[in-house]
């Protein structure tokens, strides 16, 4: 077996071991996982049918759907590449083996990430099939496959941008990458100048003709040659993959930074001491800083796209963009659970009880998440209708304590991609589950205060998890 396949096999074995251990520890997790998979597929199909209404009846509707999928892909790519273990994450002895940068990168990063993305892209395929069947496009399955491939390429593009940031983490490189990110929104910026709908160039790759006839209530369906579209997508994909590989395997500069820093005062009270420690970690850990900066930049891109999308779709998409951003921003506080777990020897051996330590963690991470989310989402409020404010603010408060609970249940690991993916999925399921329950209670019992009840429930549940969860290794 070649060296890069061996390295991939290491990751596969780690996944298997974790899965088997979890299943043995709690057999209920197996049917729960199956239920989650089936539920996600079902949701994707329902969302596809819903998106078809947007695509057909709103000007630039299909463009908006496509733009959100691509932007989501870029964000997932950025996030996963930021969290990818890469060769440096391996045991120091393994790292001394003579292996070239390319196979090391293929084995530890490219192949595991691509497999992970393909798994994540299956719901996109379901979504696409449902969407294209509803709007009666010929060969909907082929077009759904193309949509999945396009989303995968968006992920790879996001990963390439992240590699640029990671390889040369200087302020100058970071500033240089911002125009690259903003370039994603250029078609939207150019749209009003040409009277063309936003993202029409992207929509043109797909069969629906909305991109070329933005003023029609029900647009004619123009189906270009799938072979031509596929070739175009493959060409873009090859370019993105080449850029990703080149940026990841070229030798980068060693991280800059002084060995000495100014020591800050640590307060004496447990919660304040823990809060100061975590804030200093968040500020000093480049990985957390990058996630935060990317949230801000992505927010700016989302706002540009949302603001320029026509009329009613902008209002509808703004809260969705805000919620996506909150989820993305919550990755930074979630990553701090790795530090908590690594220091478990201290937290377990100090006089304050585990319950006190857990509650302090809940307060600190909840506050940090809420603060970051507010900063990241703030620009979206500018383009959001006023009646959506309570919903977004409520969702923000509901999302704030979730990283604390998820991180206490299963600490983040910077060197274990599968765990990172699992944690992000768990966080999303937790959040969507809470929103779903609020909706269900509101509909079934016609209870106006349903969101408030669920919010209190989420706060109580996450506090209980943080104070009682068993300590696990990072």
């Amino acid at each position: 077996m070649t060296s890069w396949l061996l390295l991939t096999d290491v990751e596969r074995r780690r996944v298997s071991r974790v899965a088997v251990r979890l299943a043995r520890a709690n057999p209920l997790l197996v049917p729960a996982a199956v239920a989650v998979v089936v539920g996600v597929m079902w949701l994707a199909i329902k969302a596809g049918a819903g998106a078809a209404i947007l695509a057909v009846f709103l000007p630039s509707g299909l463009s908006a759907v496509l733009a959100m999928i691509l932007l989501g892909g870029v964000l997932v790519g950025l996030g996963l590449a930021a969290a990818a273990p890469r060769f440096e994450g391996l045991d120091p002895q393994i790292r001394t083996v003579p292996i070239a940068p390319l196979p090391a990168y293929l084995g530890t990063t490219a192949l595991p990430l691509t497999i992970a993305w393909l798994i994540f892209a299956i719901p996109v395929f379901d979504f696409g099939t449902s969407l294209f069947r509803t709007i009666q496009v010929p060969a909907p399955d082929a077009w759904a496959g193309l949509l999945m491939l396009t989303q995968l390429i968006a992920c790879v593009t996001g990963a390439a941008i992240m590699e640029i940031l990671r390889a040369r983490p200087s302020r100058r490189a970071l500033l240089g990458a911002i125009p690259l990110l903003l370039a994603l929104g250029l078609p939207a910026v150019a749209a009003p100048l040409t009277s063309a709908p936003a993202w029409s160039w992207l929509a043109a790759l797909l069969p629906h003709g909305l991109g070329k006839s933005s003023h029609a209530a029900v647009a004619p369906i123009v189906v270009p040659s799938i072979a031509t579209s596929l070739l175009g997508v493959l060409a873009v994909g090859a370019l993105a993959a080449a850029a990703w590989t080149a940026t990841a395997t070229l030798p980068g500069r060693a991280p800059a930074g002084s060995e000495h820093v100014r020591s800050r005062r640590i307060p004496r009270r447990l919660t304040l001491a823990m809060g100061t420690w975590l804030i200093l970690t968040a500020v000093r850990d480049s990985r957390v800083r990058v996630v935060f900066l990317l949230s801000l930049v992505s927010g700016a891109g989302m706002i540009t796209a949302t603001a320029l999308l026509a009329g009613r779709s902008a209002a509808a998409l703004a809260p969705l963009a805000a919620i996506l951003l909150v989820q993305f921003a919550a990755g930074a506080p979630l990553a701090l659970s790795s530090d908590l777990a690594q220091g478990r020897w201290l937290w377990r051996s100090i006089p304050p009880t585990g319950r006190r330590v857990g509650l302090s963690w809940w307060i600190v991470i909840g506050t940090i998440t809420a603060a970051i989310s507010l900063v990241v989402v703030a620009p979206v409020f500018a383009v959001m209708p006023l009646d959506a404010y309570p919903f977004v603010l409520g969702a923000l408060v509901m999302a704030a304590p979730i990283p604390a609970a998820v991180g206490r249940l299963l600490p983040f690991r910077h060197d274990a991609l599968t765990r990172q993916l699992g944690l992000l999925a768990l966080q999303l399921v937790f959040f969507l589950g809470a929103l779903g329950i609020a909706e269900l209670i509101a509909q079934r019992f016609a209870l106006q205060a349903a969101p408030l009840v669920v919010l209190v429930g989420v706060l109580a549940l996450t506090a209980a998890i943080c104070s009682r969860a068993p300590w696990r290794e990072a």
């Binding site: 447990l270 001491a273 006089p351």
Partner: protein, 270 residues
């Protein structure tokens, strides 16, 4: 060792004169038995050493004593306070330095000491003592460096300084001399002697038999989670008719067979 008279002339209770008492402690990792019915006592003012091969249960024992692991069988009393019954009070009576201090990579040495003092509710003099110890251990130049940037040995020294500066009745050091330079080992030996002079008890797990022989008043030899022998270095040498502690250790733990035939291990096959 006689009972210590208190200021009012009465005798200190037996339990309080013991820095540590462990009774019939057992612990499993899954199905693997790590500590098997272990009992030991460490009087106040005594340096006790846990020695044994890898996997003999030294680190697990210290993790059980500190509450990092929770055992279901047996009991642990620290200065007469039962860990299971009153963990908060029991944990106020010891300081611990682990074998591989992890986490807190993005704090400076000074910040880490402040955080440690806050979490341990240390007395107001902690800062001054820690500062003195930083000087003694040659760590002052590192005070404003991030822990994550330090070498393993330097980081261990920081961890040892943090624990010793607490001046608690019981000091627990895991792999006491691991990764330390010879100079620091000498300093550590003196610091331990100093600490017990003030009435501290100390339990150190170590692989360095020569350090244990020089430093410890009491030795507990472990193998496969069980206590194989205990006593002062002199007593152990006499018991096993050994020239030194290493020889006594080999006999006590039945490891003498390991050396038989070792000369042929790397020989080319016939």
């Amino acid at each position: 060792m006689g009972a210590m008279p208190l200021e009012d002339g009465s005798q200190e209770p037996e339990a309080a004169r013991l820095a540590l008492r462990v009774d019939h402690l057992s612990f499993h990792y899954g199905t693997a038995l790590a500590v098997d019915d272990l009992s030991l006592t460490v009087p106040a003012g005594t340096i006790a050493g846990l020695i044994g091969p890898n996997g003999s249960g030294k680190t697990t024992t210290l993790r059980l004593i500190t509450g990092i692991l929770e055992g279901k069988h047996g009991s642990i009393d620290i200065q007469g306070i039962r860990l299971r019954d009153d963990p908060v009070e029991a944990k106020r009576r010891f300081a611990f330095a682990p074998d591989a201090p992890s986490g807190f990579d993005h704090l400076t040495v000074q910040e880490y000491l402040d955080l440690y003092a806050a979490l341990q509710s240390a007395d107001p003099e902690y800062g001054a003592r820690a500062s003195n110890l930083l000087g003694v251990m040659d760590l002052q130049p590192h005070a404003n460096r991030l822990l994550g940037k330090l070498s393993h040995g330097t980081r261990r020294k920081v961890s040892i300084v943090a624990a010793i500066a607490l001046v608690r009745p019981l000091l627990l050091l895991d792999e006491a001399t691991s990764a330390l330079d010879p100079e620091s080992v000498v300093v550590l030996e003196s610091l331990l002697r100093n600490a017990v002079r003030y009435g501290c008890g100390a339990v150190i797990a170590t692989q360095d038999i020569y350090f244990a022989e020089r430093t410890c008043d009491l030795i507990f030899m472990l193998a496969h989670g069980r206590l194989k022998a205990s006593g002062s270095p002199d007593e152990l040498r006499r018991t096993f008719d050994a020239s030194d502690l290493r020889d006594a250790f080999m006999k006590a733990t039945g490891l003498t067979h390991v050396l038989e035939g070792i000369d042929d291990v790397l020989a080319p096959p016939d």
